[in-house]
């Protein structure tokens, strides 16, 4: 069957805050619980200013490397881990999630969060990955990372913080521009 042409994206615009954020949207697990970590960072524009009107979404495996297909992301009652979260940036461009470290989805795989970024001024969503910094061998064997020069590769690997959290900044443009991804099936 011929592949249909996808509907174009359009910017999220400035007025999404009443619509998309919701209670506990960025809490994949309750903050402070056993195994909970804070994944956080800033979304920066090309002048190095934080983007106060961006939205970051993450999709991830659980600690055992299983990607959940459990409902309940919008009403986070009970204990189900759904592996998906949504966090808008604050006025400084900062976002955060309370979550767990994803496990590798197969033995030897590098563990990462799949990340989507939306913002006013960004005409279509962009995708990237946030890799865990541990497991050097898995990172070295990762096909995406292996093809990048060291400077750009470093931007996809989160930094572990003393409290166990992860710091991952997203640069939409500039010298430290994040490596954004295109997947088969995406068109220009």
């Amino acid at each position: 069957m011929a592949e249909l042409i996808a509907t174009p994206g359009q910017t999220i615009g400035p007025f999404f805050h009443e619509a998309l954020p919701y209670d506990h949207d960025r809490e994949l697990v309750p903050p402070g619980g056993a195994g909970a970590i804070r994944l956080h960072g800033y979304v920066y524009d090309g002048a190095g200013a934080g983007a106060p009107d961006a939205l970051v979404e993450i999709r991830q495996a659980d600690a055992a490397g299983v990607v959940p297909t459990t409902e309940g992301s919008l009403c986070r009652l009970g204990a189900a881990f759904t592996g998906w979260g949504r966090g808008s940036t604050d006025r400084t461009g900062h976002y955060w999630f309370s979550t767990v470290d994803p496990g590798p989805v197969r033995p030897g795989a590098a563990a990462f969060f799949a990340v989507t970024v939306f913002a006013r001024g960004l005409l279509n969503r962009v995708f990237t990955r946030c890799y865990l910094p541990e497991h050097e061998a898995a990172l070295a064997a990762d096909p995406l990372l292996a093809g990048l020069d060291p400077g750009r590769r470093a931007g996809l690997v989160a930094r572990r913080e003393p409290d166990g959290g992860l710091r991952f900044d997203i640069h939409l443009q500039g010298d430290a521009e994040t490596v954004f991804l295109t997947f088969p099936g995406h068109r220009s």
């Binding site: 249909l4 509907t7 359009q10 592996g83 001024g121 443009q173």
Partner: protein, 255 residues
């Protein structure tokens, strides 16, 4: 109102930039340019490097799952949420969400947000001096059905001004947020209304340089969806990028 528009480009300037970019564009560029200078906010927020091809794996292959614990069916009717009748033209928008092979995206979340009939959002940063409607939030959600179908009853949004350039007006639109079966199919876009005179002037709509692709953002008026003495109907179908099931299928799968 205060006139603080001296530094802003004119519509004529913006329109000339749009025409020049379209004239230089290749046919078949079916997604928006991320770098589209007539949309001034894109200048510092577009990646300058080409996106890196990657094979999706792990979490990228599996969209989040939503269900009836997440969405109340009443959230699909934006005209009954706030204890009274909103002002404006009552309308229905109905359509299907399908993947690149035309397969329905079943039981998946659709979120919308929009201005009211006067062109005003319920948002603290909307400064447009048009009335807020106490009976309209402009927020909706639903789950697609087993055929990928969705429907919202709402009020037709008004056009609204913005500060991209002098006397800049957005064509009326509804913002849509969509998920597929893969995380890589995630889409946020805007649905427009047929025949809007503001289309040619709007750098966001025109950031899609291929005319046929732009048309995909415009709903069709569908008289069969209109209801006697009640509302006007529009149809708008959404195609997501192909799911990974597409790439894993053998070459001769249509045989």
């Amino acid at each position: 109102m205060t006139e603080r528009t001296e530094a802003l480009p004119s519509q004529r300037d913006i329109s000339a930039e749009i025409v020049a970019l379209h004239d230089a564009a290749e046919v078949g560029e079916t997604q928006p340019r991320l770098h589209f200078p007539p949309y001034r906010s894109s200048l510092l927020r577009h990646p300058t490097k080409n996106p890196r091809p990657a094979d999706p794996e792990g979490a990228e292959l599996v969209a989040p799952v939503f269900g009836h614990s997440d969405v109340d069916p009443l959230e699909a009717d934006l005209t009954v949420q706030s204890g009274g009748e909103p002002i404006g033209e009552r309308m229905l928008v109905r359509g299907r969400v399908v993947d690149g092979d035309g397969r329905p995206v079943r039981r998946q979340l659709v979120e919308i947000w929009q201005a009211n009939a006067a062109g005003r959002y319920v948002h603290q940063r909307d400064q447009h001096p048009a009335p807020v409607d106490p009976h309209f939030t402009g927020l909706g959600r639903c789950l697609t059905d087993d055929d990928g179908g969705y429907a919202f009853t709402t009020i037709k949004p008004g056009a609204y001004p913005w500060r991209n350039h002098r006397n800049a007006w957005r064509p009326a639109h509804i913002h849509f947020s969509l998920f597929g079966t893969d995380f890589t199919q995630r889409l946020i876009t805007q649905m427009y209304f047929p025949g809007d005179p503001l289309f040619a002037l709007d750098p966001i709509y025109q950031s899609v340089t291929d005319p046929a692709a732009r048309e995909r953002l415009v709903a069709g008026y569908d008289h069969d969806l209109s209801e006697h003495e009640w509302l006007l109907g529009y149809r708008w179908d959404i195609v997501l990028t192909g799911s990974h099931a597409t790439y894993l299928e053998p070459e001769d799968h249509d045989g």
